[in-house]
């Protein structure tokens, strides 16, 4: 007990016993105590003066919070389709075998558990895994063996070879953002020189659209926030990069953090906000320390804090808030809920965050890349920016390329680049399919490779997963179906139940029990989810499935049963227990196949 108190006290103190910091407190408590035990739960509830059920609400919602012991080492294999294509399941099986464990099982000595987690954003250097929230990349059988030995030796993570944790940028094509070198503070000073209205005018001229996927015009969002009545305004940088196959924000935060933070400050300057949050996904925990260091450096340079660059009327500072394994928190209102210390369930919109966001105040939520773009506009002006890309999609876009290609990594292009061009550049001319925009995006077949990356043609937040010849697109559709079932927040019925039925039918087809009936039902569910889900998650959960069923139909058809319909389980086996109980084995005690 004393040890738990002494572990929790500094954590509670760090967050001022503030109930709205509950998620951060639980994350840190888990890091200290390995899980949210009943004692930790009771202690935190008492200290914050909140009902313990409020804690349960979070531990059950966030995948990376545990209300039962998961071992001292919690190994989670990234389960994106790109990890799978790079043999992650075999690597996981190897490790499970070494410890004699089943997936999700905790070893009897409490040493470790091994399970899977949604895409960890290391697709260009996978297969990847997380050990206690630290990312390990480029897994090989040898690396599995080394990790198993370290775990057996109970070696602290800090003593593990540092190259295990190396995360490379892999920038393959740089354009105006990734290729530019700009001095620290240059963008903020340029914005200050333009003045609040001047900077806003340039944003408007640039026609910059959000890079998180939805493509909303950034200036319109900033204007709505600026003009909305409120006691305070906030700027949130959405770095909950959870879309499977996307990893550009990770590189921007690792190597261009100054640009991101300056972009946030500029958004604060234009909208009148003086507080910003970086919502960082839990999988990127390793970035936290360098990002905090960068913030401290910027404060020293007077690029953050009070009277920034000597402008007495401009103060702005940034706090980092960590996620805990919930894809839905990339949806802006779910993110705000999470930021307020609650389960990340999307709010009903309108009102939109621009008028009613964090703590009910006007709030701008922008993607990491969008904010970097604001710094370009500050420095070069809106007209320069609007001159690049296409008419409705100005500027450049960073693509996260992964899968079956010779050179996975980041590719920055002006909007309007063709799929074929990207494939040629990354060394995948012979691609079988490309999944654009992540699991919630579109799947394109070769006859569509002349289409362009742009909001007016193929929109994307940046994911570009390549599938080579011989790949089975059913496997991808199945992986996505399981992903969405897991990540649905459960708030609305069409998505909660719909994603579960889709996953169940896909697994039934995979087991060889599916018929044309299931394909018809999947098409019907696609329409239902798309038209009646509460938020973008449900609305887009079957987009890739629909594309794959249409464009790669044989992958589905070859798995179908010859029958019109068959149960997904063995009916005769379902009578076995009753047979044993009654000692019967007569004809009526069996169920043959349906004729």
């Amino acid at each position: 007990m004393a040890s738990i108190d002494s572990a929790l006290e500094p954590i509670l103190a760090r967050y001022g016993r503030e109930p709205s910091a509950l998620l951060q407190i639980l994350r840190d408590a888990q890091e200290a105590c390995d899980w949210i035990s009943p004692t930790v739960r009771a202690e935190v509830a008492r200290a914050l003066d909140i009902p313990a059920t409020q804690i349960d609400c979070l531990t059950r919602f966030y995948a990376h919070l545990y209300d039962e012991p998961r071992g001292r080492y919690r190994v989670l294999f990234s389960d994106n389709i790109t990890d799978r294509m790079a043999d992650a399941p075999a690597l996981m099986a190897r490790m499970l075998e070494q410890f004699g464990l089943e997936p999700g099982e905790v070893s009897p000595d409490g040493l470790l558990s091994i399970a899977t987690t949604s895409c960890t954003g290391m697709c260009d250097q996978g297969p990847a895994l997380l050990v206690n929230n630290r990312a390990v990349t480029r897994m090989t059988p040898e690396r599995i063996d080394a990790i198993s030995a370290l775990i057996r030796a109970r070696a602290p993570l800090d003593d593990w070879p540092s190259h295990f944790f190396e995360v490379h940028d892999n920038i393959r094509r740089a354009d105006i953002l990734l290729g530019a070198t700009c001095a620290s503070g240059e963008a903020i000073r340029a914005a200050l020189a333009r003045g609040r209205d001047g900077m806003f005018a340039e944003m408007k001229k640039s026609n910059l659209r959000g890079r998180g996927g939805a493509g909303f015009t950034t200036a319109v969002k900033w204007e709505a926030c600026r003009d909305a009545p409120g006691e305070a305004r906030f700027v949130i940088c959405n770095a909950d990069e959870g879309e499977p196959g996307t990893f550009k924000d990770r590189v921007l935060l690792q190597s261009y953090a100054g640009r991101v933070f300056e972009g946030m400050a500029i958004a604060g300057y234009v909208t009148g906000a003086n507080k910003g949050f970086l919502y960082l996904r839990g999988e990127y925990s390793y970035l936290r320390a360098p990002l905090e260091a960068k913030l401290a450096e910027m404060r020293r340079e007077n690029l953050l804090g009070d009277a920034i660059c000597g402008d007495a009327g401009f103060s702005f500072d940034i706090m980092i808030h960590m996620g805990a394994g919930a894809y839905i928190c990339g949806e802006e209102t779910a993110l705000i809920e999470s930021l307020e210390g609650k389960a990340g369930k999307p709010r009903i919109r309108p009102p939109f965050p621009a008028t009613y966001g964090y703590l009910g105040q006007p709030t701008v939520v922008n993607n990491v890349e969008t904010l970097c773009k604001a710094t370009e506009i500050a420095i070069q002006g809106g007209a320069f920016y609007a001159g690049q890309g296409t008419q409705q999609s100005t500027g450049t876009k960073i693509l996260s390329v992964s899968g079956d290609c010779e050179r996975p990594g980041l590719y920055e292009y002006p909007f309007g680049v063709s799929i074929a061009q990207v494939l040629e550049d990354c060394g995948a001319e012979d691609a079988f399919a490309v999944q654009i925009g992540g699991a919630a995006g579109n799947c394109l077949a070769p006859h569509e490779f002349d289409r362009c990356i742009a909001f007016e043609d193929v929109p994307t937040a940046g994911a570009f997963m390549v599938f080579g010849q011989g790949r089975d697109m059913f496997e991808t559709a199945l992986n996505f179906a399981n992903f969405f079932e897991h990540e649905s927040c459960g708030f609305c019925t069409p998505c909660r139940v719909g994603t579960a039925i889709v996953a169940r039918m896909m697994n039934k087809i995979d087991a060889g029990h599916g018929a044309r009936y299931e394909l018809n039902e999947l098409n019907r569910l696609d329409v239902l989810l798309r038209t009646s889900s509460h938020c973008g998650l449900g609305q887009s959960a079957t987009m890739a499935l629909r594309d794959m069923m249409q464009k790669f139909a044989p992958a589905f058809e070859r798995r179908l049963s010859l029958k019109d319909f068959e149960p997904g389980f063995d009916l005769d086996a379902a009578l076995a227990e009753a047979r044993a109980l009654t000692g019967r084995d007569d004809e009526a005690a069996h169920l043959g196949a349906d004729s």
């Binding site: 009916l571 379902a574 009753a578 109980l581 009654t582 000692g583 019967r584 005690a589």
Partner: protein, 186 residues
Amino acid sequence: MNAPFPPRAKKRLKIATATLGGCFGCHMSLLDMDERFLDLAKLVDFDRSPLTDLKHCGPCDIGLIEGAVCNAENVHVLREFRAQCRTLIAVGACAINGGLPAQRNPLDLSDLMRKVYCDRVDDTAQIPDDPELPLMLDKVYPIHEIVRIDYLIPGCPPSADALWKFLTDLIEGRTPRLDYAHFRFD
């Protein structure tokens, strides 16, 4: 030469109904149509149903199934209906989701049977093994997990209005459509 549109005798549709593991509440709702039941009888003939007491189902246009699949006999009845009915409809909460009977699903079947049949004072207590009795399935299943289902009518039970609307839609050739009031229960 034939007339371009030779008159066709209007075919009378055949309907069959059955209850699997259920309470007959959905059938009671069918009777609750009151005088409209006579109108229905003008439009259709009834094949196997508790109303006719026929034990087997011949070729039918519409089959209505109430109740969940709890035992081997339920499976046989359901298979017969699927084989004979062009359109098969899951009626009510038990048929659609397992409903009340599915409340036994979290329980262990052996524990359950022993509690019911053996935890008694008389010493002849045993789990019945008469071949006449259908064996229990390990779990209670909704009917769509056993056979293909074409439509479902929600409710516990669906109201007589809902059943009337659904059936007349089907009979008259409209895709059945229930208005919100038909499945609003609070």
